[in-house]
């Protein structure tokens, strides 16, 4: 079975677009500038523009759109904010990009149940700004101000996942439009359920290949009484990583524990003017009551001190904390700023925590052999780290070096019982690695894909 065969033709596409124009009027665009804006995410993967872009305002409209696309076998590519890193929104077979930005209503917040429902186009910052007065927050934080729908689609996680989990844990229920235009609610708002197959989790991480995510019901969390961020410099990379491992193994419920090696520190120093020492660092955050946050911090400070870590440099005020994490989140943009016109290429392996030191040290040694500047940053509490580069895709020689390096890194992670992607997804970039990682599972995934999208119109050519 091949999942890439498309029966759409130019004639079909023209017909589909004219029907979509009747439905959406000025909210259907074929302008080159709009199509180009939807041709790629933030990564190095080559852009590929859709034939048209739709801006629906309701689930019912998405349903009508997909029905038209299904009739004409026109590919459907859901689009959030375009901040992903594996080419998932690139319209590699043409088709219709469905930009969810006008579906940005927060439809319900229940402070009592600590949950909310939002349309897919709401961004995580919009949601947290809206929630501020409720005493609740939505913790999943991939750095970029991604849309909630996009975060569902890629099973996003980020800095807070070590304590609060990923989108896998954050989503209670979804409303999706499937490949035939049907509107499907996957679950109720109950906190737990044994009611049939877990379709919610099936769509979380499906990268637009099984349906269009339109509405998301999310778990929220109480804003902790105490939020305390700290920075800790280490003598060695090994000491910093071992501190992370010990912290996790002690069961400290730390909220964030992020590694930046000396190259990463240099990158953010240059960009954000922070003046950190050029040594490996951990950026930390503790959540809890005043007493429990203090207890956690004392435990980690003791562990750090034994492993060559400095006294914590605290960021307790909101503006100081925001400055610290903004610097961390802007890492990718800092790397791009070093090489104007470049694109992001980020590796994304995740390994069992017992293998993390070995994996990072071997990778560091491997970086040295390439002669390239490749900073390491990572959500190390989960065993996930990135080697993030700014590249010029047209520089074939450099791209080959990086590609070979990434190949070795993925193989290293797989040998350590890890995964090729902790949070960025498969997109177009990791399809062969997925087969290498889970060969028999991929055959089951193909069966699921064919069952739910028999004509392969949903984001074709991605994941499988």
């Amino acid at each position: 079975m091949t999942l890439n065969s498309q029966s759409s033709t130019k004639v079909n596409v023209c017909e589909a677009i004219s029907q979509l124009q009747i439905l959406l009027q000025e909210r259907l665009s074929t302008a080159a500038v709009i199509r180009d804006h939807h041709a790629q995410d933030e990564s190095f993967h080559p852009p590929s523009a859709p034939d048209a872009v739709a801006f629906p305002k309701s689930i019912e409209e998405v349903s009508e759109i997909v029905k038209i696309c299904a009739k004409y076998a026109m590919p459907v590519i859901p689009f959030g904010t375009g901040t992903a890193l594996e080419g998932g929104v690139n319209a590699i077979n043409g088709g219709l990009s469905i930009d969810m930005c006008q579906m940005n209503n927060i439809t319900r917040v229940s402070a009592e149940d600590m949950d909310c429902s939002v349309q897919a186009g709401v961004t995580r910052r919009e949601l947290n700004e809206y929630l501020r007065d409720t005493g609740l927050f939505f913790p999943v934080d991939p750095g970029a101000n991604a849309s909630i729908g996009g975060m569902v689609a890629t099973r996003a996680s980020g800095t807070n996942a070590v304590r609060y989990g990923t989108m896998r844990e954050a989503v209670l229920a979804l409303i999706v439009v499937t490949s035939d235009g049907n509107i499907v609610k996957t679950s109720t708002r109950a906190r737990k359920s044994a009611a049939g197959y877990d379709l919610t989790r099936l769509f979380v991480g499906s990268e637009g290949t099984l349906g269009v995510i339109c509405e998301v019901t999310l778990k929220l969390h109480a804003i902790p009484e105490c939020i305390a961020s700290a920075v800790c410099a280490f003598d060695s990379l090994e000491g910093a990583v071992n501190c992370v491992i010990n912290t996790i193994q002690m069961g400290v419920p730390i909220a964030r524990i992020e590694l930046l090696d000396e190259a990463a520190i240099k990158t953010i120093n240059d960009h954000s003017d922070l003046g950190y020492a050029h040594t490996p660092h951990l950026f930390l955050e503790f959540h809890g009551t005043d007493a429990s946050a203090k207890e956690q911090a004392n435990t980690v400070q003791e562990l750090a001190a034994e492993l060559g870590g400095s006294d914590f440099q605290w960021a307790l005020k909101t503006e100081d904390r925001n400055r610290l994490w903004r610097a961390r989140h802007d890492f990718a943009y800092a790397a791009l700023a070093q090489r104007p016109g470049s694109k992001i290429l980020s590796t994304d392996v995740c390994v069992p925590i017992s293998r993390l030191t070995q994996c990072i040290l071997q990778t560091k040694a491997d970086i040295a052999t390439t002669g390239l500047n490749m900073p390491i940053i990572g959500h190390v509490g989960d065993g996930n780290f990135h080697v993030a580069l700014s590249v010029f895709p047209e520089d074939k020689q450099e791209m080959q070096l990086v590609d070979d390096f990434n190949h070795r890194l993925v193989n290293r992670a797989l040998e350590m019982e890890g995964t090729c992607t902790g949070e960025h997804g498969i997109g177009v970039g990791k399809k062969t690695y997925l087969v290498q990682e889970l060969p028999a599972a991929v055959e089951i995934m193909k069966l699921v894909k064919s069952a739910l999208d028999p004509n392969n119109i949903m984001n074709p050519g991605k994941v499988l």
Copy 2:
């Protein structure tokens, strides 16, 4: 499409059994006593014996068994400990029961990664006894000493889920045998992953209808420094439930918070000789460092006192704690003991926590109209509660009363955006309620089922 059509015939079954006998020899049984033992779980659903029972010792043997069954269109029914409550193991179309009890090896424990891999037949008590010296434990606790494979299949949860999550959160990876006999590993050991569709979660809760769960990789947790259990008596049911809601809304990371109404207290008093007052109670447990457990307990004690709760009666020693929770877990057996020869019928709704008081009080009033003794017990921190009865299935009049009551209860929960089953699963008992709860989703579930099990040999007639 009907999922119940079976093309197996007596001739096919005889052929299949003779081939299975060659493969398994004395580990394939057609003895009536063995078949009868595999005809039902602990519930009131009518028994239905399989044609034969297999006792495999390895994943490869399960694969060979399923290949033979596939060849002869013989239904395959995975069997753990038979402690479920919705008839999931009953061989309603005959076929082969695969009893996993001889696949009971704990194949790997990594204290450093806080995970382990076990064969599906390992029970949760066996696992925790094995883990005791490692400082780790496996928290999911449905009461019964279920097999891990069975707990995966039903997406089990229980008393600890409010803090540690359900099997949905506990499972890192699975090895399953699919309907064609293929052996499929669903994920790696990485703590998080964005590598394709979440097949792990698809199989968790699939109740044997998509494949045979053979090996399970589980997250483990550090045994807390302090484990403190307490009992709190309340003046009113409303006060007890509101105390739960306030505790959850305050974000207290309580490990267990179980409601028993006065009828439930009377049942366990009679059985376990505990001498509690005949009023609603909460059974509580706090996990943490000494300081944080104390802080949590103080918070909940204050909330309870404001809502008519007594001073906590503490169970701090291991044997006292075990006695307390054994009494709670033995509730179902206590109910059966009141009516010798009876069977368990347990409702299982789960609602958003803001609706819990209303749902329980309306249900309590409804119970009064039936004239039957129906205790309420519940994992109320998740919004999940059971009305648990001992029934005589042949008493048609009583069964009709109970069935009507359950029907009203499920409708009440669905109107409150809840689910018909928080943890027991669909089995044969809740198929129509599943359609009522998630009509469009059921159609997607059927597509998945047909794709993965086109000949409908995997536990046919269950879930869908």
